[in-house]
Amino acid sequence: MIEVKKLVKRFGLKVILRGLDFHVEPGEFVALLGPNGAGKTTFLRILSSLSRPSMGEVQVAGYKLPHEAAQVRARLGVVSHLPLLYPDLTAEENLRFYARMYGIEDQEQRLTEVLEMVGLEHRRKDLVGAFSRGMQQRLAIGRAVLHDPEVMLFDEPYTGLDQDASEMLDEVLRSVAAKGRTVVMTSHDLARAEDLATRFDILSRGVIATSATRDDLKTTNLLAFYKQSLES
């Protein structure tokens, strides 16, 4: 589903990603872990077509970036730590706007469906500006799955959420966003990543340093694995 070969990303002279290889099978849920400044967000921005690779090949859902960006965008949903919603519009108006931007037909039906999925049907006429952080993030997930994407990217989705909100978001991520889709997530929250993901890739110094599947971690836990990979 995602195929990255020898990806290099430079900002001026600074090299952020140095020949990164990355591969995701359809249906996998990959957690991308690593220290600050390792290039996780940059990598996700490249996968989401917001940033151009300096060198290397990137393929998402069978289309090459950056040349076939429009096809990739139509098959991609992104949830970041910012909700990407307009506070002066209601929940339903926000979704309607994005539905139009994605060219979705039967807008109203899909809108209701999505609002029900993220549990905000009763608040559909309320302004997003009045929503709590957790509700905004749930609506952001609704926004991201509106066009039923094949690939989902989560960039630190838990930032700024308290324990309850995080748990609720977990539930929505699992049942709505990840179901039947291919997912790549970056997070600092190892415990949540351990719960959700099927594979764990450690990004360090611009490359994937180590990778382990859920089965590989049976004898050890994620935290130990994470520490060990960064030390080596």
């Binding site: 900002f11 001026g12 002279l13 600074k14």
Partner: protein, 231 residues
């Protein structure tokens, strides 16, 4: 550090020489203009600096377009060099023009099309540097710089056209003279001084751009070395 290339050394000396010759031609060789007197001699340098100022502006817009197409940072460095050098020359043009204007029109400054356009162009340059200063990512800085020089390059001629709608008192030196504008006629000796000044400032311009480009390349090297040391 790379040694200064021989060609550049030669060009440095040539620049000093042509500047000296041009000064001689302007101050002693050319005859004194009948109407305006000795102050008219400032005209040769005024035109010389204005010409390279304009040349730099056009080159900057051109290299901006090439940068946007090729994304090669070399063109960004050329654009910065061209803008920097012509900012200085344009400033000189305005100052020299003022010196000339004081006795000729009895005022330091008039809102004449050429003067005003020159001033606005200078402001576009200044805005250009402020824009670049506010951006950390070198690629974004280069992209925005290129877009802005392009906009400036399109806007400046239109500005000139618009201000021309207001009456002008600036003498038309070359090209069709407006019937109600004073036309300055040049004697052959004046022509020599005039064209030599154009030539001299073109040489100086190329020399300075070359120096600025070399400086840009060295800055880049320093950054690279710093990065290597910090890792």
């Amino acid at each position: 550090m790379q040694a200064k290339p021989t060609a550049l050394k030669v060009l440095d000396i040539a620049s000093i020489l042509v500047l000296a010759i041009s000064t001689y031609l302007a101050l002693f060789f050319a005859p004194t203009e009948l109407v305006m007197g000795a102050v008219q001699r400032v005209f040769y340098f005024h035109i010389g600096t204005a010409w390279v100022g304009l040349l730099g502006f056009i080159l900057a817009a051109g290299s901006g377009i090439i940068y946007l197409i090729t994304k090669d940072m070399k063109w960004d460095r050329f654009e910065v060099a061209a803008v920097e050098v012509s900012t200085v020359f344009f400033f000189l043009t305005i100052v020299l023009g003022s010196i000339w204007a004081r006795p000729a029109w009895n005022t330091w400054w008039t809102w004449d099309p050429r003067l005003t356009t020159a001033a606005i162009t200078e402001l576009i340059y200044i805005a250009y540097f402020m824009l670049r200063q506010g951006i950390d990512d070198p690629e974004r800085r280069a992209r925005f710089g290129a877009v802005y020089t392009l906009l400036g390059g399109v806007s400046a001629p239109v500005t000139f056209m618009v201000i021309r709608l207001f009456r002008s008192i600036h003498p038309v030196v070359i090209g069709a003279a407006n019937a109600n504008q004073e036309k300055m006629s040049m004697t052959p000796d004046m022509r020599v001084a005039f064209f030599f000044a154009l030539f001299a400032f073109t040489v100086i311009f190329i020399d300075l751009i070359w120096h600025r480009l070399r400086l840009g390349n060295m800055e880049e090297k320093v950054e690279q070395l710093k990065l290597k040391v910090s890792m």
